[in-house]
């Protein structure tokens, strides 16, 4: 390959390496795959990326993915506007939607606080959520952040922020996965599931 050709290919590799979870070797494999693929197929990928960037944005109210100013849930008059469920990423929102067990509105943080990585309150724009509460009508906020250190930090911080507004705050229960043998649960998981027990 000529120097110029190698330059073009390594430019593609450099862009691919920036994607989460893609290392240099994988990026090289993908770049060679794209090089070998016929033109139309490879360009479909480029078009799909362009379409997402041009046509999709984040909902003005909840920061879910939206094709218009408001997302499909914020626009839906049948959703219960008194409950907001807070998630870290849109992917979690869609996982919860698939359960069909929640009919309220959402708030997507697009991240989580991280004392280890230096992600602070301004990075997750917590104030956007508080602004929504100040609009009135919200009775409960359900925090559905992950049971990781980042999710915990986010839940603790948001609780502190929301409580003064007189809105009920709850945290999704966590503990033993359904179908798991209790003997195999580790002690943090067991402690959390005992703390999060409920009356029968």
């Amino acid at each position: 390959m000529s120097v110029e050709h190698r330059g073009l290919l390594s430019q593609l590799v450099r862009e691919l390496v920036r994607l989460p979870g893609i290392g240099h070797k994988t990026a090289q494999r993908l770049a060679f795959h794209i090089l070998k693929t016929d033109g139309e197929e490879a360009l479909r990928l480029a078009d799909a990326i362009r379409a997402v960037k041009e046509r999709l944005a984040f909902c003005r109210q909840c920061r879910n993915i939206a094709e218009e100013e408001l997302c499909e849930f914020c626009r839906d008059p049948k959703r219960d506007r008194s409950t907001i469920l807070v998630v870290e990423e849109p992917s979690t929102l869609y996982a919860i939607e698939r359960t069909a067990s929640f009919r309220g509105l959402y708030h997507v943080l697009l991240g989580a606080l991280s004392p280890l990585d230096g992600v602070g309150p301004s990075d997750i724009r917590a104030q956007d959520l508080i602004d929504r509460l100040q609009g009135g009508g919200v009775k409960e906020v359900i925090l559905a952040t992950s049971p990781t250190i980042e999710g915990e930090a986010t839940a603790i911080y948001l609780t502190k922020l929301i409580k003064p507004h007189g809105v009920h705050v709850s945290r999704i229960a966590y503990g033993v996965p359904v179908g798991m043998d209790l003997d195999y649960a580790d002690e943090v998981t067991l402690t959390k599931s005992i703390e999060g027990r409920r009356d029968l």
Binding site: P115, D117, G118, S122, D123, I156, G179, E187, V188, T191
Partner: protein, 263 residues
């Protein structure tokens, strides 16, 4: 592929690929190392919470030939430090100690005392000792063990004695030289030096010299602590080559710059 076993503390953990994690540990037997935990993010992962940050576990891993990444086969919790997950101040103090160890140690350099000091620092935070002071003192302790021991007996530039008993009135700390400088040298240095009062200097020396179980009994007034915090913060920034996330999350809340650098 030999199987290795060692007590380990998780310093941090990154998502990797579809469902895996790459975890950085500080281990009792092998110092800092990184390993892949396959499937760690799946619902029925056999790792459970054993690889969460700050958890001390008994780690089983394989060394893969020609790869700096180990393969984690099993991790059983020895000490969960659940309390460090339930309070933002404790969480950010523990995060600072973990980040400091991750930044100033090299992979594969053994340091059993670093491991023990980190564990003891987490215990001390969880036991309800003053979190800011505990975090400060343990940072000093860890710096002393990792080859970045602050020089507190004589001027790092001209070797003149400047300890608390030397009678020199104005003491200054030069972060880039890693220790005290005498007034003459301080004046000639292009970098900014930080003032350090006799009280702060005495606390710094005690924190370096004493064992972890005694460290928690050290007390400091607000001014001594603030001064020493400024000195250590500047020194840590020089030693690690970056601004680590704030040691006190809530104190940094109104100060977005405190979160300026991420990597």
């Amino acid at each position: 592929m030999p199987l290795l076993k060692t007590p380990a503390i998780t310093l941090n953990s990154r998502k990797w690929g579809e469902a895996d994690r790459i975890v950085t540990f500080y281990t009792l037997r092998f110092g800092k190392l990184r390993g892949v935990a396959r499937g760690a993010r799946r619902m029925k992962s056999r790792f459970g919470s054993a690889l969460e940050p700050f958890v001390q576990c008994e780690l089983n891993l394989f060394e893969k030939h020609g790869d700096s990444l180990y393969r984690i086969t099993q991790a059983d919790i020895r000490e969960a430090f659940v309390g460090l997950r339930e309070d933002l101040t404790l969480m950010s103090g523990a995060a600072r100690l973990a980040n400091l160890v991750a930044a100033v140690t090299g992979e594969g350099d053994q340091g059993p005392r670093i491991f023990e000091t980190l564990v003891s620092g987490f215990r001390s935070l969880e036991d309800g000792n003053d979190p800011a002071l505990t975090t400060l003192l343990y940072q000093i302790k860890l710096l002393g063990l990792t080859g970045f021991r602050p020089q507190t007996d004589h001027c790092t530039a001209c070797s003149a004695a400047v300890g608390p008993t030397s009678g020199t009135v104005l003491r200054q700390f030069a972060p880039t030289s890693g220790g005290l400088v005498c007034p003459d040298c301080a004046r000639r240095r292009p970098e900014r030096c930080l003032p350090i009062s006799p009280g702060s200097l005495a606390l710094l020396q005690q924190a370096l010299r004493w064992t972890p179980d005694v460290v928690t009994r050290l007390k400091a007034t607000g001014q001594v602590r603030a001064e020493l915090e400024a000195v250590i913060e500047a020194y840590v920034t020089v030693v690690t080559g970056k601004h680590l996330p704030p040691a006190n999350f809530l104190a940094a809340e109104g100060n977005p710059q405190a979160y300026g650098t991420r990597d």
